[in-house]
Symmetry: C2
Subunit: 320 residues, 2 copies
């Protein structure tokens, strides 16, 4: 890979160069270090926004509405689709595809599906680096769309400046989801499909859950602390999208102008670094698969003559 | 931890000893190695069955129906609930809880919720080891329930002898999910809620998707190769559960009596070992967080004066 040429193409937002660079990040090739080193000084301008929520809450429609909003302000927008069921990832039903068409043809919009599947923990290391590439490329807004089940919402929070958690009325799992850790990662909450029955009930339940979580905090209330807003949207008609964009901008300002905001930004940077450390170690773990003793040790574990921990120790001891 | 006492309690299936042992696995304490070493020779008898599928397909109801079935045959059953929204994990709505009550009070059933959340990739290392503990404890059947979105279905396949993928009619995401990698991990497919409209259409779509996937395989068809069955169940009434149990038993037999089956079992053992190798490395990554240079390097990455890969290298270079 001709790093200088790729970096030049990335800086010019050429789709082919962006695709090559992000693929290099995904594949974890050796060139990645040089590439990231070359683009690092150009990054730091974009607002990276994560959108997460269960399937069916309208993440893609909201993403699409936000794209339209930001394009109306003449901002460049990139989308990293980490949800394999998203229309942005090619997992669309026909109607969605047609709706997305406009954005795919707009040169001010770059859409990329992230192949995180199958690589254990892949999302956590590659997505922040892909976002950094797009940041260096000069995109003003980077939207990261992930499915909000399992670990991905924690990972998106590590990749994004601002994390939006989407819910929809009558999904049943609304409050289930909030129980399961989503309360902590959301900077902004959106109850989408607000024209449906039960929207205000969902808001009420969510507000209650958030207030309970706030009560648990032991530190005294800091007036500069971020208060998570709950917004109502109908993304399919664009209703509430401008207000959502306002809330996102307010959160971004908070990150840089307040003490708790800067602390949050530092935590995110630490999570990003830790993810790359982990990815580096993971590559070493994969390399151990090629160790000639690996298959024999695995068979011993399966047969019960050895436990997995001592087998792991045997493999790791001679590599270090 | 008094390893001998805990192992003795585990072998007697004492709930308190089982809980302590599994917590030790989850926490990754130093005692785990000795513990797993002590129980390893006793494991290898249980049938470990993974159940995965999107929220709402009826995983918990199916798990519950399988428990009843196996208890009717006087087999001991353990459940590892890795889905945080599952009633088995305490994320139940009231109705579910009441239905589960029977099992919670049955001494031949052990139910344990796995705290995988928040620990990146935690499921992959701890669940197979917890299953191995329960195996050594003499449970005949171990059911692992995971939410089938994201990486967890790959992880459950590494933990289980037999992986059941559940779908339900009219979920919309049925075929979306199959696209996203679930086809590869399923040994047995179940279309639950088969009394609903669209069940046969879901079966048809799934069969089509499976036949496409089979066509892609380059190797010539092996008559011993496993053919993934598609079963129809109504778990809430028990309909189809006996047939599901039959299919599970047939798959288990295939694993031990055929060449491709043994190859599959070896792959699983390799995945188990790799997960523990990775968990060991992950613990090292976490330890790096305490490195005095960590915060400074993270700030350099955030500020753009350094890329995350070279920062990771600095942290890792002096530890090895």
């Amino acid at each position: 890979m001709d790093i200088a040429a790729v970096v030049d193409g990335v800086r010019k937002r050429q789709p082919r160069a962006l695709a090559r660079a992000i693929s290099a990040v995904e594949d974890g090739t050796d060139a990645v270090r040089d590439l990231m080193q070359a683009v690092a000084p150009h990054a730091g301008h974009a607002h990276v926004i994560g959108l997460t929520g269960s399937p069916g809450v309208g993440k893609s429609t909201t993403t699409s509405a936000l794209i339209s909003h930001y394009r109306g302000l003449d901002l460049n927008v990139a989308v990293l689709a980490c949800d394999p069921t998203s229309p942005f990832s090619g997992g669309a039903i026909l109607g969605d595809r047609v709706r997305m068409q406009d954005h795919f043809l707009d040169p001010g919009v770059y859409i990329r599906s992230m192949a995180s599947r199958g690589h254990l923990g892949g999302l956590s290391a590659t997505t922040p680096q892909a976002a950094r590439l797009l940041d260096a490329a000069g995109f003003d807004i980077i939207l990261i769309e992930t499915v909000g089940v399992g670990q991905s919402e924690v990972e998106v929070a590590a990749a994004a400046d601002t994390t939006v958690v989407l819910l929809a009325p009558g999904m049943g799992d609304g409050i289930q989801a909030t129980k399961a850790g989503i309360l902590e990662v959301g900077d902004v909450f959106v109850v989408n499909k607000a024209d449906r029955d039960g929207a205000h009930e969902t808001v009420r339940e969510l507000r209650h859950a958030l207030s309970l979580a706030a009560d648990v905090r032991t530190r005294p209330a800091d007036p500069d602390e971020w208060t998570q807003p709950i917004l109502l949207t109908v993304a399919s008609t664009g209703q509430g999208i401008a207000e959502l964009a306002d809330a996102l901008a307010t959160h971004r300002q908070w990150l840089t102008t307040t003490e708790p905001g800067r602390a949050r930004a530092s935590l995110r940077a630490a999570a990003e670094l830790e993810a790359v450390v982990l990815a580096t170690l993971r590559a070493r773990a994969r390399a151990l698969r090629a160790d000639p003793r690996f298959a024999g040790l695995a068979a011993e574990v399966a047969g019960g003559s050895r436990d997995a921990y001592s087998a792991a120790e045997v493999l790791l001891s001679e590599r270090d």
